[in-house]
Protein backbone atom coordinates (compact mmCIF):
# COMPACT_ATOMS: atom_id res chain seq x y z
CA UNK A 1 0.00 0.00 0.00
CA UNK A 2 1.29 3.44 -0.86
CA UNK A 3 1.31 6.43 1.49
CA UNK A 4 -1.39 8.02 -0.66
CA UNK A 5 -3.67 5.06 0.04
CA UNK A 6 -2.95 5.22 3.77
CA UNK A 7 -4.07 8.81 3.89
CA UNK A 8 -7.25 7.89 1.97
CA UNK A 9 -8.21 5.73 4.95
CA UNK A 10 -7.80 8.44 7.55
CA UNK A 11 -11.16 10.04 8.29
CA UNK A 12 -11.13 13.77 7.57
CA UNK A 13 -12.21 14.41 11.16
CA UNK A 14 -8.76 13.14 12.24
CA UNK A 15 -6.70 15.17 9.78
CA UNK A 16 -6.05 18.07 12.12
CA UNK A 17 -4.97 15.84 15.00
CA UNK A 18 -2.72 13.60 12.92
CA UNK A 19 -1.19 16.59 11.20
CA UNK A 20 -0.29 18.11 14.58
CA UNK A 21 1.27 14.86 15.78
CA UNK A 22 3.29 14.37 12.62
CA UNK A 23 4.54 17.97 12.70
CA UNK A 24 5.73 17.37 16.26
CA UNK A 25 7.63 14.26 15.17
CA UNK A 26 9.23 16.01 12.23
CA UNK A 27 10.28 19.10 14.19
CA UNK A 28 11.32 17.53 17.46
CA UNK A 29 12.98 14.25 16.55
CA UNK A 30 16.71 13.97 17.10
CA UNK A 31 16.85 12.50 13.59
CA UNK A 32 15.45 15.59 11.88
CA UNK A 33 18.62 15.86 9.82
CA UNK A 34 17.47 12.80 7.88
CA UNK A 35 14.81 14.94 6.21
CA UNK A 36 15.46 15.11 2.46
CA UNK A 37 15.84 18.76 1.47
CA UNK A 38 13.34 18.49 -1.40
CA UNK A 39 10.70 17.04 0.92
CA UNK A 40 11.40 19.78 3.49
CA UNK A 41 10.73 22.42 0.84
CA UNK A 42 7.49 20.69 -0.16
CA UNK A 43 6.36 20.69 3.47
CA UNK A 44 7.23 24.39 3.81
CA UNK A 45 5.22 25.07 0.65
CA UNK A 46 2.12 23.41 2.11
CA UNK A 47 2.68 24.99 5.54
CA UNK A 48 2.82 28.47 4.03
CA UNK A 49 -0.52 27.74 2.36
CA UNK A 50 -2.17 26.24 5.47
CA UNK A 51 -2.41 22.84 3.80
CA UNK A 52 -0.53 20.59 6.21
CA UNK A 53 -3.85 19.38 7.60
CA UNK A 54 -5.15 18.38 4.16
CA UNK A 55 -4.80 15.04 2.41
CA UNK A 56 -1.75 16.11 0.43
CA UNK A 57 -0.14 17.81 3.43
CA UNK A 58 -0.57 14.74 5.60
CA UNK A 59 0.89 12.55 2.85
CA UNK A 60 4.06 14.61 2.82
CA UNK A 61 4.27 14.76 6.62
CA UNK A 62 3.77 11.01 6.83
CA UNK A 63 6.52 10.48 4.27
CA UNK A 64 8.86 12.71 6.30
CA UNK A 65 8.03 11.25 9.69
CA UNK A 66 8.46 7.70 8.35
CA UNK A 67 11.99 8.63 7.28
CA UNK A 68 12.86 10.64 10.39
CA UNK A 69 11.29 8.53 13.12
CA UNK A 70 9.49 5.37 11.93
CA UNK A 71 8.84 4.15 15.50
CA UNK A 72 7.05 7.31 16.60
CA UNK A 73 5.16 7.35 13.30
CA UNK A 74 3.95 3.81 13.95
CA UNK A 75 2.76 4.89 17.42
CA UNK A 76 0.67 7.67 15.88
CA UNK A 77 -0.85 5.29 13.34
CA UNK A 78 -1.60 2.74 16.10
CA UNK A 79 -3.53 5.41 18.00
CA UNK A 80 -5.62 5.88 14.88
CA UNK A 81 -6.09 2.12 14.44
CA UNK A 82 -4.45 2.11 10.99
CA UNK A 83 -2.89 -1.35 11.16
CA UNK A 84 -2.36 -1.73 7.40
CA UNK A 85 -0.57 1.56 7.33
CA UNK A 86 1.85 0.40 10.01
CA UNK A 87 3.02 -2.44 7.79
CA UNK A 88 3.76 0.05 5.02
CA UNK A 89 5.77 2.33 7.31
CA UNK A 90 7.70 -0.63 8.72
CA UNK A 91 8.64 -1.79 5.24
CA UNK A 92 9.56 1.76 4.18
Amino acid sequence: MKLEKIVERIPSSSWEAISEKLIDIVLNSSNSNKMPSGLAKTILYYWQRDQLNTKIGIQRLLEASAIIDPEETVEVLKELGLQEAIAVIESH
Partner: protein, 335 residues
Protein backbone atom coordinates in the same frame (compact mmCIF):
# COMPACT_ATOMS: atom_id res chain seq x y z
CA UNK B 1 1.48 50.24 21.06
CA UNK B 2 4.17 47.57 20.96
CA UNK B 3 5.17 45.37 18.03
CA UNK B 4 6.43 41.87 18.62
CA UNK B 5 9.52 40.50 16.96
CA UNK B 6 11.02 37.05 17.21
CA UNK B 7 14.61 35.89 17.04
CA UNK B 8 15.82 32.65 15.53
CA UNK B 9 19.27 31.16 15.86
CA UNK B 10 20.23 29.25 12.70
CA UNK B 11 21.78 26.53 14.78
CA UNK B 12 18.61 24.69 13.75
CA UNK B 13 18.22 23.04 10.34
CA UNK B 14 17.26 25.63 7.68
CA UNK B 15 13.81 24.18 7.16
CA UNK B 16 12.99 24.32 10.89
CA UNK B 17 13.94 28.00 11.09
CA UNK B 18 11.81 28.60 8.00
CA UNK B 19 8.91 26.58 9.43
CA UNK B 20 8.95 28.72 12.60
CA UNK B 21 9.31 31.89 10.51
CA UNK B 22 6.15 31.01 8.56
CA UNK B 23 4.41 30.31 11.88
CA UNK B 24 5.62 33.65 13.30
CA UNK B 25 4.20 35.48 10.30
CA UNK B 26 0.86 33.67 10.50
CA UNK B 27 0.49 34.38 14.22
CA UNK B 28 1.10 38.12 14.00
CA UNK B 29 4.78 38.78 14.66
CA UNK B 30 5.91 42.01 13.02
CA UNK B 31 9.65 41.34 12.59
CA UNK B 32 11.99 38.38 12.55
CA UNK B 33 15.63 38.66 13.51
CA UNK B 34 18.16 35.95 12.70
CA UNK B 35 21.41 35.90 14.65
CA UNK B 36 24.82 35.98 13.01
CA UNK B 37 27.49 33.73 14.48
CA UNK B 38 30.14 32.06 12.35
CA UNK B 39 29.53 28.69 14.01
CA UNK B 40 25.85 28.56 13.01
CA UNK B 41 24.31 28.48 9.55
CA UNK B 42 24.86 31.64 7.53
CA UNK B 43 22.44 34.40 8.44
CA UNK B 44 21.83 35.70 4.90
CA UNK B 45 21.29 32.26 3.38
CA UNK B 46 18.82 31.57 6.18
CA UNK B 47 17.05 34.88 5.60
CA UNK B 48 16.91 34.34 1.84
CA UNK B 49 14.94 31.13 2.26
CA UNK B 50 12.75 32.73 4.94
CA UNK B 51 11.99 35.55 2.49
CA UNK B 52 10.89 33.03 -0.14
CA UNK B 53 8.32 31.43 2.17
CA UNK B 54 6.90 34.56 3.81
CA UNK B 55 5.03 37.59 2.47
CA UNK B 56 4.67 40.23 5.14
CA UNK B 57 6.98 39.80 8.09
CA UNK B 58 9.98 42.13 8.21
CA UNK B 59 13.32 40.44 8.70
CA UNK B 60 17.03 40.98 8.99
CA UNK B 61 20.27 40.04 10.65
CA UNK B 62 19.95 40.57 14.38
CA UNK B 63 22.67 41.37 14.83
CA UNK B 64 25.57 41.13 12.45
CA UNK B 65 28.92 42.66 13.39
CA UNK B 66 31.56 44.60 11.45
CA UNK B 67 34.46 42.52 12.78
CA UNK B 68 33.60 39.30 10.94
CA UNK B 69 32.05 40.98 7.89
CA UNK B 70 33.13 44.29 6.34
CA UNK B 71 30.14 46.67 6.35
CA UNK B 72 30.24 46.84 2.57
CA UNK B 73 29.53 43.08 2.47
CA UNK B 74 26.70 43.55 4.98
CA UNK B 75 25.29 46.35 2.82
CA UNK B 76 25.48 44.11 -0.25
CA UNK B 77 23.69 41.27 1.58
CA UNK B 78 20.82 43.36 2.94
CA UNK B 79 20.40 45.19 -0.37
CA UNK B 80 20.16 41.86 -2.19
CA UNK B 81 17.61 40.59 0.33
CA UNK B 82 15.67 43.81 -0.16
CA UNK B 83 15.46 43.02 -3.86
CA UNK B 84 13.84 39.66 -2.98
CA UNK B 85 11.50 41.23 -0.41
CA UNK B 86 11.24 44.98 -1.03
CA UNK B 87 10.49 47.02 2.06
CA UNK B 88 10.67 44.07 4.41
CA UNK B 89 14.36 44.13 5.21
CA UNK B 90 15.89 45.63 8.34
CA UNK B 91 19.53 45.53 9.30
CA UNK B 92 20.67 44.91 12.86
CA UNK B 93 24.31 45.60 13.60
CA UNK B 94 26.30 45.60 16.82
CA UNK B 95 29.71 44.68 18.15
CA UNK B 96 28.83 41.00 18.24
CA UNK B 97 29.16 38.22 20.73
CA UNK B 98 32.47 38.44 22.53
CA UNK B 99 32.56 34.73 23.39
CA UNK B 100 32.14 33.60 19.78
CA UNK B 101 34.45 36.24 18.32
CA UNK B 102 37.22 35.23 20.70
CA UNK B 103 37.17 31.76 19.14
CA UNK B 104 38.56 33.28 15.95
CA UNK B 105 40.85 35.68 17.80
CA UNK B 106 38.74 38.67 16.79
CA UNK B 107 39.33 41.68 19.05
CA UNK B 108 36.42 44.04 19.55
CA UNK B 109 38.61 47.10 19.13
CA UNK B 110 37.25 50.68 19.02
CA UNK B 111 33.63 49.56 19.10
CA UNK B 112 32.06 53.03 18.95
CA UNK B 113 34.04 54.22 15.94
CA UNK B 114 33.62 50.85 14.23
CA UNK B 115 29.84 50.89 14.59
CA UNK B 116 29.50 54.57 13.67
CA UNK B 117 31.49 54.12 10.46
CA UNK B 118 29.80 50.82 9.62
CA UNK B 119 26.31 52.31 9.84
CA UNK B 120 27.48 55.22 7.69
CA UNK B 121 28.88 52.88 5.04
CA UNK B 122 25.77 50.67 4.93
CA UNK B 123 23.45 53.67 4.77
CA UNK B 124 25.40 55.50 2.06
CA UNK B 125 26.08 52.55 -0.19
CA UNK B 126 22.52 51.17 -0.01
CA UNK B 127 21.20 54.59 -0.98
CA UNK B 128 22.96 54.19 -4.32
CA UNK B 129 25.74 56.67 -3.69
CA UNK B 130 29.35 56.31 -4.69
CA UNK B 131 31.23 56.14 -1.43
CA UNK B 132 34.52 57.85 -0.66
CA UNK B 133 35.55 57.90 2.97
CA UNK B 134 38.64 57.95 5.09
CA UNK B 135 37.55 56.86 8.54
CA UNK B 136 39.38 55.92 11.68
CA UNK B 137 38.61 52.26 11.01
CA UNK B 138 37.48 51.90 7.40
CA UNK B 139 38.65 53.45 4.17
CA UNK B 140 36.48 53.24 1.09
CA UNK B 141 37.69 54.61 -2.24
CA UNK B 142 34.89 55.02 -4.72
CA UNK B 143 32.76 51.96 -3.95
CA UNK B 144 29.35 51.81 -5.63
CA UNK B 145 26.88 49.00 -6.23
CA UNK B 146 26.01 47.95 -9.78
CA UNK B 147 22.38 47.63 -8.72
CA UNK B 148 19.76 49.87 -7.14
CA UNK B 149 18.09 49.59 -3.76
CA UNK B 150 14.51 50.71 -4.20
CA UNK B 151 13.85 51.80 -0.64
CA UNK B 152 15.66 52.87 2.49
CA UNK B 153 16.70 49.96 4.71
CA UNK B 154 16.20 50.77 8.41
CA UNK B 155 19.29 50.14 10.52
CA UNK B 156 18.99 49.04 14.13
CA UNK B 157 22.03 49.19 16.37
CA UNK B 158 22.48 46.60 19.08
CA UNK B 159 23.64 48.17 22.33
CA UNK B 160 24.10 47.52 26.01
CA UNK B 161 26.58 50.04 27.48
CA UNK B 162 25.83 53.79 27.95
CA UNK B 163 27.97 55.11 25.07
CA UNK B 164 26.77 52.52 22.58
CA UNK B 165 23.13 53.12 23.58
CA UNK B 166 23.54 56.84 22.96
CA UNK B 167 25.32 56.23 19.66
CA UNK B 168 22.63 53.77 18.59
CA UNK B 169 19.93 56.40 19.12
CA UNK B 170 22.02 59.04 17.39
CA UNK B 171 22.75 57.11 14.18
CA UNK B 172 20.20 54.30 14.10
CA UNK B 173 16.58 54.04 13.05
CA UNK B 174 16.20 51.81 16.06
CA UNK B 175 18.04 50.61 19.13
CA UNK B 176 18.17 46.94 19.95
CA UNK B 177 18.68 47.04 23.70
CA UNK B 178 20.36 43.88 24.77
CA UNK B 179 18.42 43.56 28.03
CA UNK B 180 15.32 42.01 29.55
CA UNK B 181 15.07 43.59 33.00
CA UNK B 182 12.93 46.72 33.49
CA UNK B 183 15.69 48.49 35.45
CA UNK B 184 18.16 47.92 32.57
CA UNK B 185 15.67 49.18 29.98
CA UNK B 186 14.82 52.18 32.17
CA UNK B 187 18.51 53.02 32.54
CA UNK B 188 19.00 52.59 28.78
CA UNK B 189 16.23 55.08 28.01
CA UNK B 190 18.24 57.91 29.56
CA UNK B 191 21.21 57.25 27.28
CA UNK B 192 18.94 56.80 24.28
CA UNK B 193 17.27 60.17 24.91
CA UNK B 194 20.68 61.80 25.17
CA UNK B 195 21.89 60.17 21.94
CA UNK B 196 18.75 61.05 20.01
CA UNK B 197 18.98 64.69 21.08
CA UNK B 198 22.48 64.97 19.56
CA UNK B 199 20.93 64.97 16.10
CA UNK B 200 17.74 66.75 17.04
CA UNK B 201 15.65 63.58 17.03
CA UNK B 202 12.72 63.07 19.33
CA UNK B 203 12.49 59.82 21.25
CA UNK B 204 9.49 58.94 19.06
CA UNK B 205 11.77 59.00 16.02
CA UNK B 206 13.73 56.03 17.30
CA UNK B 207 12.36 52.54 17.57
CA UNK B 208 13.15 51.14 21.02
CA UNK B 209 13.47 47.38 20.89
CA UNK B 210 14.00 45.29 24.00
CA UNK B 211 15.97 42.33 22.69
CA UNK B 212 15.12 39.83 25.38
CA UNK B 213 15.99 36.28 26.06
CA UNK B 214 12.50 34.82 26.17
CA UNK B 215 11.03 31.53 27.33
CA UNK B 216 7.35 30.81 27.76
CA UNK B 217 5.60 27.57 28.70
CA UNK B 218 2.51 26.52 30.61
CA UNK B 219 4.79 25.08 33.30
CA UNK B 220 7.26 27.67 34.64
CA UNK B 221 9.94 25.11 35.44
CA UNK B 222 10.02 24.01 31.80
CA UNK B 223 10.40 27.62 30.64
CA UNK B 224 13.23 28.08 33.14
CA UNK B 225 15.09 24.95 32.10
CA UNK B 226 14.99 26.04 28.46
CA UNK B 227 16.40 29.51 29.17
CA UNK B 228 19.41 28.51 31.30
CA UNK B 229 21.89 27.96 28.39
CA UNK B 230 21.00 31.34 26.86
CA UNK B 231 21.38 33.13 30.20
CA UNK B 232 24.79 31.49 30.59
CA UNK B 233 25.91 33.01 27.26
CA UNK B 234 24.52 36.41 28.29
CA UNK B 235 26.32 36.40 31.65
CA UNK B 236 29.53 35.27 29.94
CA UNK B 237 29.45 38.19 27.50
CA UNK B 238 28.08 40.84 29.85
CA UNK B 239 30.00 44.11 30.47
CA UNK B 240 31.47 44.34 33.97
CA UNK B 241 29.29 47.33 34.91
CA UNK B 242 26.11 45.44 34.14
CA UNK B 243 27.30 42.47 36.19
CA UNK B 244 28.18 44.75 39.10
CA UNK B 245 24.77 46.40 38.97
CA UNK B 246 23.12 43.01 39.39
CA UNK B 247 25.64 41.84 42.02
CA UNK B 248 27.07 39.10 39.82
CA UNK B 249 30.79 38.54 40.51
CA UNK B 250 33.05 39.00 37.48
CA UNK B 251 34.79 35.74 38.43
CA UNK B 252 31.52 33.85 37.96
CA UNK B 253 31.08 35.34 34.49
CA UNK B 254 34.70 34.49 33.61
CA UNK B 255 34.23 30.93 34.83
CA UNK B 256 31.08 30.52 32.71
CA UNK B 257 32.81 32.03 29.67
CA UNK B 258 35.80 29.69 29.95
CA UNK B 259 33.49 26.69 30.33
CA UNK B 260 31.54 27.72 27.20
CA UNK B 261 34.73 28.12 25.18
CA UNK B 262 35.87 24.68 26.33
CA UNK B 263 32.45 23.17 25.62
CA UNK B 264 32.04 22.12 29.28
CA UNK B 265 28.30 22.70 29.31
CA UNK B 266 27.59 21.43 32.82
CA UNK B 267 30.19 23.83 34.26
CA UNK B 268 28.79 26.64 32.13
CA UNK B 269 25.15 26.15 33.06
CA UNK B 270 25.30 25.05 36.72
CA UNK B 271 26.26 28.52 38.13
CA UNK B 272 23.10 30.04 36.63
CA UNK B 273 20.80 31.11 39.47
CA UNK B 274 17.12 32.05 39.52
CA UNK B 275 18.19 35.67 40.09
CA UNK B 276 20.26 35.59 36.89
CA UNK B 277 17.28 34.18 35.00
CA UNK B 278 15.08 36.99 36.39
CA UNK B 279 17.67 39.58 35.44
CA UNK B 280 18.54 38.42 31.96
CA UNK B 281 15.34 36.90 30.57
CA UNK B 282 11.60 37.11 30.28
CA UNK B 283 10.70 33.66 31.45
CA UNK B 284 7.63 31.90 32.79
CA UNK B 285 3.98 31.20 32.11
CA UNK B 286 2.03 33.37 29.61
CA UNK B 287 0.58 35.35 32.54
CA UNK B 288 4.06 36.00 33.98
CA UNK B 289 5.55 37.11 30.67
CA UNK B 290 2.60 39.45 30.00
CA UNK B 291 3.30 41.15 33.35
CA UNK B 292 6.99 41.51 32.51
CA UNK B 293 6.37 42.80 28.98
CA UNK B 294 3.85 45.30 30.35
CA UNK B 295 6.57 46.80 32.52
CA UNK B 296 8.91 47.18 29.54
CA UNK B 297 6.18 48.79 27.42
CA UNK B 298 5.39 51.31 30.17
CA UNK B 299 9.06 52.34 30.18
CA UNK B 300 8.94 53.05 26.44
CA UNK B 301 9.67 49.82 24.60
CA UNK B 302 8.11 49.92 21.13
CA UNK B 303 9.33 46.51 19.93
CA UNK B 304 9.55 43.44 22.12
CA UNK B 305 11.93 40.87 20.69
CA UNK B 306 11.16 37.35 21.89
CA UNK B 307 14.67 36.03 21.63
CA UNK B 308 16.12 32.61 21.98
CA UNK B 309 15.10 30.09 23.27
CA UNK B 310 11.41 31.26 22.96
CA UNK B 311 10.44 28.16 24.94
CA UNK B 312 11.07 24.47 25.54
CA UNK B 313 9.08 23.62 22.42
CA UNK B 314 9.38 26.46 19.92
CA UNK B 315 6.21 25.70 17.96
CA UNK B 316 4.05 25.42 21.07
CA UNK B 317 5.63 28.50 22.62
CA UNK B 318 4.91 30.57 19.48
CA UNK B 319 1.32 29.38 19.68
CA UNK B 320 1.18 30.27 23.38
CA UNK B 321 2.44 33.78 22.61
CA UNK B 322 -0.17 34.11 19.86
CA UNK B 323 -3.08 32.85 21.92
CA UNK B 324 -2.26 34.08 25.43
CA UNK B 325 0.14 36.99 25.14
CA UNK B 326 -0.84 38.84 21.94
CA UNK B 327 -4.49 39.38 22.95
CA UNK B 328 -3.30 41.38 25.95
CA UNK B 329 -1.51 43.74 23.55
CA UNK B 330 -4.35 43.81 20.98
CA UNK B 331 -2.38 41.92 18.35
CA UNK B 332 -4.52 39.73 16.14
CA UNK B 333 -3.47 36.71 14.11
CA UNK B 334 -1.95 37.60 10.75
CA UNK B 335 -1.61 41.32 11.54
Amino acid sequence: MVDFAIEFVPRDLYWKTTFYAIQAEKTGFHTLWVTDHFNNRNVYVSLAIVSAYTDKIKFGPGVTNPYMAHPIVTAQAVATLNEIAPGRVVCGIGVGDRTTLELVNMKLSKPLATIRESVGIIREITSGKKLEMQGEIFTVSGAKFNFQTTNRIPIFVGAQGPKMLALAAEIGDGVLINASHPSDIYRAMGFIKEGASRTGKRLDDVEIAAYTSFSVAEKPEKAEKAVIPVVAYIVAGCPEKVLQKHAIPMETADRIRKAIIQGKWKDAFSPITREMIETFSICGTPETVVEKIDKLVKIGTTQLVAGSPIGPNVRRSINLIATKVFPHFNIKEGE
